[in-house]
Each structure stands twice: as structure tokens, then as C-alpha cells.
Amino acid sequence: MTKVASAHDGIILDLLSDGVLVQAAIPRWPQNWVLPGYLRDLPVTVRGAVSRRQSQMDGMVQNVGTVLCTPSLEMVEVSPEALDDLFKLPRENYLKLFRFTTWENPAVRIYGQVLFIRPGLGFFVLMEDKAIIWVQTSLPGTLMPGGFVDVVGRLDTFDGRALLTDAYFRAGKPGTLPPPWKQTAREVNEFSHGGTIRVEGRLVGQQASVSEDSLVLENQGVTFLARLFHVGNVQLPKLQPGTLLQLSGLCVIKRMPLPENLPQTFAFQLWLPSPADVQILQRPPWWTVERVFILCGVILLLGLLAVGWAALLRRQVARQSTLIASQREQHAVAEERSRIAREFHDTVQQQLAGINLELETTELNLEQSPAEARKSVGLTRQMIRHSLAETRQTIWDLRSPALERGGLVVALQNLVSSLQQSSSMQLRLQVAGAPRRLSGTLEHGLFRIAQEAMTNAIKHSKARHCNLTIDFAARSVRLRVQDDGCGFQGGSFSGDGEMHFGLLGMRERANKLEGAFDLHSQPGQGTKIEVTVEIA
């Protein structure tokens, strides 16, 4: 055989058979495989279908050669004698290889253990003097990593290193490889080339193509590439960037061809024999930069939302509070207005009607009886005075704050202590039963009766003691004002007009509360006023 060349998707072998050139065509040769140059200059037997190649010249068809169509390289057999001759060369060790002048590409023989196989491309061999050499060949054959191999090839150099091309080999006995040499990425150097090392790295990226998986890794500022070539169905699982990995494989220093799409900036490559040589040391932390950004974004968004929401809420609350306040104010105004209207309707108007009647009587009396008329005028004035006082109280001091806030008992305590300041009479308040808040109208009415009764007692009774008792029963409340003063003849219009008006006023008030009014008084025996109101 004289020459090997590639043609289209196959290869063509030029053979010289008894001085005649015969070509053997082998189709479907993988594109990245090296050519089977080891066949050169070896006597071979090729089997295949014969086809004549013809050329048409001047209308004549001539036979210009013979082409053998050979389905595969298996059909090309090297003569065993020639091979035996080949392997008669002495085995060299690595250093001795440099005796040769490499530009002649002399054939040399080496022996060692297979380190790493790349089908169709070649394999690394660990020689007996621990040197590592690349053997380039596409010779099919069963090699196992660790197994011994006898190789004959043409010596060449690449990047100052010896390598064998167009190599022929024979597999020897099986063996085991030394354990990988643990190195850090920084420690990897020229001497690591071809060595089996174990190195750690954090995954930066992962890329998968039809032919291989590539992992870009980083350790101590050194970026390197780990590759797993697809032989059969081996494949790496998808790994999370940031994962800390421990990788064992063959270290290859720079300049070896890289897969597509990757820059030539890797410190070294690591060729992985199997997926098992990739071990996960540590899952990536959940906090990746991307996640931190997303999280920050989410937090920011939530924060903005919360702020916005709070602002909205505050505005709404403010609006509601204003509304409630204005409603409350409106309600208070309306209530006050209706109270004044009620008082006006119930009291002032009625009292004016009464006064009007009395004035008409006065008018009649003026002509008929001046004495009666004078009495009438006096009564009218008294009525007006009473009405005035009552109206004033109605309009100005209807609701004492003590009554409003503290309730009836507190208001009565205040009343007693304030009256006590201007009176030598001994005033006392007694609270019985279960004190509690009553309706505003009731508390106010009872308070006014107590106030009127005690004022009356101080003004008119000449008593030494005056007791105010408030008794909260389950279904009723009773107010009693009792003095030990002079008393009076009950039920008569005679006597002190003012006091009488006061009594009638109290009775009217009790009546308004739908309560029972009791007055006990005899001259010299004091006065007792009792108001009892049933509570529904």
C-alpha cells in the first residue's frame, strides 16, 4: 500500500499490485478520525467488489484503473509476517526517543500502559520510565485503560513533545493504573501533561454537544475545562452552576484542540474517562447572584407595594376618620339641635303658654280688682323667673362633664361637695345597691332633681343635716333627699312661692322621667323627697 487519502466522506487507499495501481475505497470514515496512515508501506490484502474506472476520450471508452469497493477497514488485512517484522524493532524509552531526528519520522517501538483512549484519534501511553506519550492512530482494536500495549509508530514532535503517528499496536496483558495524583488547579503545569490527576473546581458553565460534555470550572482563579467524550451512551447529568466538583481524569496542557464555541483561555483540560469521575462535593449555595438580584427585586417590589399600600391605607383611614369625625360632629349637632328643639317644645313654649294665660287673667283683674292684679303680676313674674332659670340651665349647663364622664354617682359627689362649701348644713351622700350607668336622660333628670331638692333644703329648711341617697335596685333606681328642717304644710299654694315652684318643677321632671314622685313634709318634721324610676 502506498498512500492513504480521504475523499468525500470516505477514504481511498492506493495499492500497488504487481506494478498496477489499484485503489480501494472505504466509505463512511468519521470526519474527525485520523486516517489509517499506519497501513502505509505495509503489504496488505484487500477484499472488495471490483469496479473498473473508465474515462471517455474522443468517443473512446478506456479503462484507466481498477477500484475496489471495500465496506470497512476490517477487510484490509496486513500480512502477519510484515507485522512481525515491524515489532522486531527494539523498545525505546522516552528519553531515548530524542536520539532520532524527528523530521525523518523514523519508525519507533514503545511499550507501556494505556492511559486514555480516544477512539479514532489515538491514546495516551504511560511508558515504563513514567513518561507519557500520545499515540495517534485509528487502528481498530480492543484497548482497555491500564492495559499494556506494544506500539510501533512514526516519531514526531508537537510543541516540544514526542508523539507517535500512524501507529500500529498490539494489546498486551491487562494492568491497573496508578491512582490519580491529587493536585490543585494552580499546581497544574507542563509536567502534568498526560498525567492522571484529581482536582477540585467550582462549576461555571456546562455545555453539551453530540460528541462530548464540557464543563468549565474555576478554582483559585484558574479556569479549566473538563471534557467527557461521548462513547456509547455516556453523558453527564445537568449540574447547577456553582457546584463544587471533584474531577479525576487526564490532564492535557493547552494547545490541544478545543470543542467549538469555547475560547482558548483555559489553563488546562481534563479528559474524563467516565461520568463517575465527576463527583459532587458541595451543592451550589442557594444564593446565586441571579437569585440575589431576583430576591432584591422582589423585596424592592414588595417594599414599594407595601409603601404604596400603606400610603393608600393611610389616605383612606384619614378620609374615613375625617368622615367619621364630621359624621360624629353632625350627629352631635343634630342631637343638640333636637334636644334644644325638644326643650323648647316641651318647656319654653309650654311655660310661655302658661304665662300668657296668667297675663290674660292679670289683664282682666286690672280693671276688676287691683289687689288681685298685683297678685297676678307677682305670680307672672315668678313664673318668668322660674322659666328663665330653667331655660338658662337647659341651654347652658345641661350636661355637666362630671355627669357625662363619671356618671350619676360621681356627679352627685361633686354636687354635694360643691354645695357643702357654701353651706354650714351637714350634707351627706349615700350610695346603695349596684351603682351603674343609666341613660343620659335619666341620669340628667335625677341629677337635676337632686340639685333642686338640695338647693331648696339649704335655702328654706333651716335643717342641720341633709342626706342624699341614691339606691340602684335591679329594676329601678331611687333618689331620696331628706332633711331634718322646719318642713311645711304639703300641697298648699301658700307659703314660699319660690320653694313651691321648685317642688312643682321637681314633680314635673319626675313625671317626664315617668317616675313616681313622693313628698313627705310636716311643719317641724323635716322634708323627704323621693323619686323612683322603674328601669325596663
Binding site: 303658654a353 302658661g354 304665662i355 294665660l357 296668667e358 287673667t361 315617668e514
Partner: protein
């Protein structure tokens, strides 16, 4: 004139000013005598039983039972009783109610003394008495204005300032029902809004300031 021929009067009014004024005005007349006073409805019936007056001057507005209710109760027990209603107000609905309850007449409290005496004498004589102005009001009163008890309830709550929602809650019915009632109320009162309805109801005496 002999005292036996005097018209014996019972005064029912929760305001002693009015009772006082009336008593003094009547007692100086030769043909009237005040035989009793009462400050509320219960007292009124008690005193009536005791003194059997010829005529009752009854106040319209009183705490507890009002004049209309007392009149009704009184007439049930004493069908021959003569009641003349006195009121601080002059509202068509009040007049209508008083007369419907069996009062023989209705007078505003601001009435002149002479007219009051004339009214009392007329009523005592077995006739009805109504001042011309009130008679006119009563004639003008449209019977269709009569609100149903439910509508009255709604109107009362409206006057207290409750919203439709609150009224529905208080009455335990749907908001749409309340709105329906409101529509009828406004139609009957010939008004277009809630506030107007309240004002109209107060003016005509359908509602009273409490």
C-alpha cells in the same frame, strides 16, 4: 250662679305652668270650676274616676301615654266624658288623631282666653269645636296621605338620621324593601328627598319631636 251649675273641669297637663294658668283663668269665671289636676295619663284617669268632671282639658303631648291615648282610654271607661284637646302645636295630623280618638274639640294653647271659654262651653253643650283655621287644615288633609304603620316606622328612623342600610338592619328587612317604602313615603308626602320628608312629617304632625 250656684256652684252645682258650674262646669266642673279636670286639667290634664304635664306642665304646672299651664295647669296654673288655666286654673286661675277658669276659677275666676262664674260658670267654671277646676275640680282636679293631673300631670300624666295615669293620674288623669284616677282623678277622673274620683271627681267625675263635666269636661276634661287634655294636653296632647305628655310623657308616657299622650293625650290621644289617654282620651281613648277615658272614653272607653266613660263614654259620656267630654274631652277638649289642648296642644302647643297646630298640625293637621294631630287634630285628625285627637278627633279620631274621640275628643270633642281641639285648641292650640296660644288660643285667646275668650275663644277657650267659648270652646269649653260648646264642647260641654255636647257639640264639637274646632277653630276655623284647624277645620280648614283638616279639610285640606288628603286621606291618601295616610302612611302604613311600616312606612311610619321607616319615616321615624329616617328622621333619626339612619341610612337605608341601617334602617334595613333595624327593621330586619332588605335594603330594597326600605327603598320601596321610602319611595311610597315620598310619594304620599309629595316630597322628593329624605330631609324634606322628615320636615313635612314634622310639620304635619305625622312625626313628633321626641
Amino acid at each position: 250662679m250656684k256652684s252645682s251649675s258650674k262646669i266642673r273641669v279636670l286639667l290634664v297637663d304635664d306642665h304646672f305652668f299651664v295647669r296654673l294658668g288655666l286654673a286661675r283663668a277658669l276659677n275666676r269665671e262664674p260658670d267654671f270650676k277646676v275640680v282636679g289636676e293631673a300631670g300624666n295619663g295615669t293620674e288623669a284617669i284616677e282623678v277622673f274616676r274620683r271627681v267625675k268632671p263635666d269636661l276634661v282639658l287634655m294636653d296632647y303631648h305628655m310623657p308616657g301615654r299622650d293625650g290621644v291615648a289617654v282620651t281613648r282610654a277615658l272614653l272607653r271607661e266613660f263614654p259620656a266624658a267630654r274631652v277638649l284637646m289642648l296642644s302647643i302645636d297646630e298640625k293637621e295630623e294631630d287634630v285628625h288623631r285627637a278627633l279620631a280618638a274621640g275628643a270633642a274639640g281641639y285648641l292650640p294653647k296660644a288660643t285667646q282666653r275668650e275663644e277657650l271659654l267659648r270652646a269649653m262651653r260648646t264642647v260641654h253643650a255636647g257639640e264639637r269645636f274646632l277653630p276655623p283655621t284647624l277645620a280648614a287644615l283638616l279639610t285640606a288633609r288628603v286621606p291618601a296621605n295616610e302612611l302604613t304603620p311600616r312606612e311610619l316606622e321607616v319615616l321615624e328612623l329616617v328622621s333619626k338620621g339612619l341610612s337605608t342600610h341601617e334602617i334595613a338592619h333595624v327593621l330586619g328587612c332588605a335594603k330594597t324593601t326600605v327603598k320601596w317604602h321610602l319611595k311610597n313615603i315620598m310619594q304620599k308626602l309629595e316630597v322628593s328627598g329624605r330631609t324634606e320628608a322628615t320636615r313635612a312629617a314634622l310639620e304635619r304632625g305625622i312625626l313628633h319631636v321626641e
